[in-house]
C-alpha cells in the first residue's frame, strides 16, 4: 500500500456567492480512518466531492504525495468511492458491472480480481445474470464496495455508506472499513453517526460552516470522546 499523504492546503469552495468551504487545511494519512463530521450544511459532502476530484477547489490545492490531485486525471485511479447510492448499473449483473469497471481501469487478471472481490463482499453466490436492479440495498452496497476496491485504490472515500443499511449490514461495513485501515489504506468517512465514527476512526475532523472546527488524531476514540469533540466544535451553531 502507498505511503502517500493526502493534503488539503488552504482549500476553499464557492458555489456562486455561497461559500461552502473556506481555508481548509488538513492532512489524511495512510493507515488511518478519518471521520469527517459536522452538522448539515457544514461542507462535508463538498469536501468529499473535492477529494474525489468530482469537483475542483475554488482556492487552494489538494495534493497526493507531491502531485496536485486536481491536475492529473490519472490520479483518479488512486481513488475508490462508496456513497449512499451504489454507483453501479442496475441493468447489469454484479459480475458485468465489475467487468466493465475492470476494463475501464485496465486491471490485469480482471476475472480473477472480480472473483476475489465478489467472494470478499459475499456476492459470489448470487445468480450469475441477476441484474443489480433486483438486489437488496445491502447487496447493492456490497457491490458498491467491490467496485470501489476493484482497482486497489490508495484512497477510499465513504459518504454516509451505512445510512440505508440494516444493523447487520452496517456492522459488516464497519468490519470492512477496519480491514482497509489495517491494510494501510487511507480512508475518509463522512458520517453523521458519531458512534460508528468512534468505532473505527483514528482521526476526527469536525467541520462547521465550511471551516475546520476540530482536527484531532488519536490511536482510538470512545463514543463519548467523539461526542465531546463534536459538541465543542459545533457549539454556538445557529
Amino acid at each position: 500500500m502507498s505511503e502517500r499523504e493526502l493534503r488539503l492546503v488552504n482549500v476553499g469552495k464557492t458555489f456562486g456567492r455561497h461559500r461552502a468551504l473556506a481555508d481548509v487545511s488538513l492532512a489524511f494519512v495512510p493507515g488511518r480512518v478519518a471521520a469527517v463530521l459536522g452538522p448539515n450544511g457544514a461542507g462535508k459532502s463538498t469536501l468529499l466531492g473535492l477529494l474525489s476530484t468530482l469537483s475542483q477547489p475554488s482556492q487552494g490545492r489538494i495534493i497526493l504525495g507531491d502531485e496536485d490531485l486536481s491536475r492529473h486525471s490519472r490520479l483518479r485511479a488512486s481513488i475508490g468511492y462508496v456513497g449512499h447510492e451504489p454507483g453501479v448499473y442496475g441493468d447489469l449483473s454484479a459480475r458485468q458491472n465489475l467487468r466493465l469497471f475492470a476494463s475501464l481501469y485496465g486491471i490485469a487478471n480482471g476475472e480473477r480480481r472480480i472473483d476475489e472481490m465478489l467472494a470478499r463482499v459475499g456476492l459470489d453466490g448470487v445468480r450469475r445474470e441477476g441484474a443489480a436492479r433486483t438486489f437488496s440495498r445491502g447487496m447493492l452496497q456490497r457491490l458498491s464496495l467491490a467496485r470501489a476496491l476493484l482497482h486497489e485504490p490508495e484512497i477510499l472515500l465513504f459518504d454516509e455508506p451505512g445510512s440505508a443499511l440494516d444493523p447487520a449490514g452496517a456492522a459488516w461495513l464497519a468490519g470492512e472499513l477496519q480491514r482497509e485501515r489495517e491494510a494501510g489504506r487511507l480512508v475518509v468517512l463522512v458520517t453523521h453517526d458519531l458512534v460508528a465514527a468512534a468505532a473505527i476512526a483514528t482521526h476526527v475532523v469536525v467541520l462547521r460552516r465550511g471551516r475546520v472546527a476540530c482536527d484531532e488524531t488519536r490511536t482510538s476514540f470512545s463514543a463519548d470522546e467523539v461526542r465531546a469533540l463534536y459538541e465543542e466544535a459545533t457549539r454556538g451553531k445557529a
Partner: protein
C-alpha cells in the same frame, strides 16, 4: 495496469450501452414507435386513395422530422442508466478521459438511431412511393452523417440536463435550434437523391459535404465541451 486506449475505452462504454439496450430494447421500441407514428400521421395527411401527391422534398422532410422526434426520444434516455444509482459518478471517477465517455455515448446513441432509420426508410418509401435504390448507399451515408450531427449535439445537452427535473421538455427546446443546419443539409441532400427527375446530383454532393463538415465541427466541439458540461462545477 495496462490501461486501454482512448478508443478502446470509448468502445467499451458504447458496447455497454448497446449491450444493455440489446437486452431491454426500451429505447429501440420507443424510438421505432415514435418514428413510425410520425410517418403514418403524414401519410394520413398526404395520401388519399391510391394517389400519392407528394414530391421528393416533402418525403425528405417527413423522413428527417421522424428522425428528429425519434432521435429526441433516444437522446432523452442517453444518460438515464448513468443517472440511476449514480453510476455516472463511478464513470466520472474512473481514469477514462471524459472525451472518451462522450465518444462512447455518441457512438451508442448514433448506432441505435441509425438502426431505427434503416427500418424507417423502407416504410417511408413504401408509403410514399419514393425510389430509394438508385442512390441507396448515398442515402445511407446521409442518414449516418445526419444522425452523427444530431446526436453529437444531443449527447452534450443530454449530459447538461442530467440532473434537471424537466429535462425531457428542455432537451427539445435547447436541441432543435442548434441542429437546424444539420436538418437543413440532410433534408436538402435527401430531396435531391429521392428526385428521379433531378438533372444532376451536384447539389446533393454539396449538401452532403456541408453535412460532413458540420459533423466535424459538432463532434470536435462536443469532445471539447463534454467535460465541463458533465462535471457542472
Amino acid at each position: 495496469m495496462a490501461r486501454p486506449s482512448w478508443a478502446g475505452q470509448a468502445g467499451r462504454i458504447a458496447w455497454k450501452d448497446l449491450h444493455i439496450e440489446g437486452r431491454s430494447r426500451e429505447v429501440l421500441y420507443t424510438m421505432g414507435f415514435m418514428a413510425a407514428l410520425v410517418v403514418l400521421v403524414f401519410s394520413f395527411a398526404f395520401i388519399s386513395g391510391q394517389e400519392v401527391t407528394v414530391g421528393p422534398d416533402v418525403v425528405a422532410g417527413i423522413l428527417w422530422v421522424a428522425v428528429l422526434f425519434s432521435g429526441t426520444v433516444a437522446l432523452s434516455r442517453t444518460f438515464d442508466r448513468e443517472r440511476e444509482s449514480e453510476a455516472i459518478r463511478s464513470l466520472l471517477l474512473s481514469p477514462v478521459p471524459r472525451s472518451a465517455i462522450y465518444a462512447g455515448k455518441l457512438a451508442a446513441t448514433a448506432a441505435i438511431m441509425f438502426l431505427v432509420e434503416l427500418l424507417l426508410t423502407p416504410l417511408l418509401a413504401a408509403l410514399f412511393s419514393a425510389v430509394l435504390w438508385p442512390h441507396a448507399l448515398w442515402l445511407g451515408l446521409l442518414l449516418l452523417l445526419g444522425t452523427i450531427g444530431f446526436a453529437s449535439v444531443g449527447v452534450i445537452f443530454s449530459a447538461a440536463l442530467l440532473r434537471a427535473r424537466s429535462r425531457d421538455a428542455l432537451l427539445g427546446a435547447l436541441l432543435f435550434p442548434i441542429v437546424i443546419p444539420v436538418l437543413l443539409a440532410a433534408s436538402r441532400a435527401t430531396a435531391y437523391l429521392l428526385d428521379p427527375a433531378a438533372p444532376d446530383l451536384d447539389p446533393a454532393l454539396f449538401w452532403t459535404r456541408f453535412l460532413a463538415a458540420l459533423d466535424v465541427v459538432f463532434v470536435v466541439v462536443g469532445l471539447w465541451t463534454f467535460e465541463p458540461v458533465v462535471m457542472g462545477d
